[in-house]
Amino acid sequence: MSTVLLPPRHYLNDGYGVRSWLLTRDHKRIALLYLAGVTFFFFIGGAMAVLIRLELATPPGDLVTDETYNKLFTMHGVMMVFFFLIPVIPSVLGNFLVPIMIGAKDLAFPKINLLSWYIYVVGGLFTLYALISGGLDTGWTFYTPFSTVASTTNVIPAALGIFITGFSSILTGLNFIVTIHRMRAPGMTWFRMPLFLWSTYATSLINVLGTPVIAITILLVAAERVFHFGFFNPAVGGDPVLFQHLFWFYSHPAVYIMVLPAMGVVSELVAAGCRKPVFGYSFVAFASLAIAVLGFLVWGHHMFVAGESVYSALIFSILSFLVAIPSAVKVFNWTATMYQGAVSWETPMLYAYGFIGLFTIGGLTGLFLAAIGVDVHVTDTYFIIAHFHYIMVGGTIMGYLGGLHYWWPKMSGRLYNEGLAKLSAGIIFIGFNLTFFPQFVVGYLGMPRRYHAYPPEFQVLNVLSSAGASILGVGYLIPMVYLMWSLRYGRLAGSNPWGAVGLEWTTSSPPPTENFTETPRVTWDAYEYPASVETDVA
């Protein structure tokens, strides 16, 4: 074991002023700018969730009015979906890791990368303005004709904010696609790439192909609201179901924009945590692409009770079941990787275990919803809320936190407090399940979503859920504290504290601005773990 020192020159000490950050073209610094942004919006969305769960602790609507409650769940959804869940892993971990993992000095378009961040911030400020100046009450789904005709709240500023932020997604996706195609180091073939890159690539394809559709759809909403066109308003010849087709054509694949990168993270965590190659590498890689493609064919399952034709519903139902195949390939392959592996119990692996369990529950309940008969029964109930939170929170956030803990030593050069990290991972897992599992039950029993009052017989399950949310909130705050603390006081990490393989672990922690002192030549496959890899933790 050798003495560990910080490298004399790295991306964090390459300029200290505000300008050096706000005008940076270094993908690693831009990743940290995004980290600040997504964390800010996560806590705003989280504050809304706290108020929602406080209101639902008692059956009558006694904390906020029904109008305020409508605004709370709308802004919770808008902030979390568009400004946290969709950008979080690609923009933070993807930005930091994509060039390093392929052995490049930066993304293909560094200036466009910085532009993406500014666009994200401007879009976020528009939406924040909508929130502060009176809020929005349409639900994050902006369903018409309510959003175009009836709502008296800030539809236009919020819609504009989402429209603007969409360009950030498109540009980031484009940057990743071009970078992965054109800038791989010598010897880094497609099938030597880490699986995180395959999932990031698949996500980028969805971003580029799907995001323009939601952008145009939101513009149509704005146009109908301002100029009273008849796109969606049946009173003037429009069709509200047309809005739902256009909205869900993007917004269902958006679920995979959220969860595919988390799956990529979990592949990295499982390989490193088990000291083994991922079982069935090419199946896991192609499963990412299959999910990206199939994800575009299933949106109609959101509309089974919305007036969609029965025959169309039948097609969408069958197609929805198909998504289970590549999803299951991944889960089975991770499990097979762990089989007879030297399984680790360090913090990143705890999140990986959490992801696999919670994603499995979320995915299997998704099969319930692909079945038209069950879906009709539970549509717009808390069963749906529980299902998509298991995927989007249990999946995406567990993957994100696992990845953040795994690569934090690389990003900061320092180690965090492992005991506190394990504790918070446990708290988050328990808090998450206590929050959302009762919602499956209360939803199945018939409690509808989006109401601030409910019959007293549902109170026990709602109190359990609110109690879980408070535990979950504490679990999210603890990493904030020890990660910040580690920036100054954490032990030095060294270049490869996990003893992992992959190009990112061959450069210093933190890496130099140009990532590698010389361009690496790759002569090995992904996850080629020797019998034992020496770590260099101090």
């Binding site: 192909l209 087709h245 064919l297 949106w299 109609g300 509309m303 034709s309 169309s312």
Partner: protein, 98 residues
């Protein structure tokens, strides 16, 4: 195939003139009731205009096969959107049993 193809400006002016003519044609046709052909006529002209923009203004005609593949991918995805949406609209009036 060259990727930095430079076109003479008269090509752009010609395409622009054709686009304007097509716009004029769209407005003109709107004054005649063609029955079920109303939408078809307007959409045909619109698609023709879009193809001109993609081929000449966006230089796809002179681009690599990879660029063609990207364009084809975009069109295919638009096809998915239209086909599955129409699977709803075209079958709403079909008889159901039970």
């Amino acid at each position: 195939m060259p990727t930095n193809h430079i076109l003479p400006t008269r090509v752009y002016y010609t395409i622009f003139a054709i686009l304007m003519l097509c716009t004029f044609a769209t407005v003109l046709i709107a004054f005649f009731d063609l029955g079920p052909l109303n939408a078809i006529a307007a959409l045909t002209i619109a698609v023709f205009k879009a193809v001109l923009v993609v081929l000449f203004f966006m230089h796809v005609r002179y681009s690599t096969r990879l660029t063609w593949a990207v364009v084809a991918g975009g069109v295919f995805w638009l096809g998915i959107l239209l086909a599955l949406t129409l699977s709803d609209y075209l079958t709403r009036s079909w008889q159901t049993f039970g």
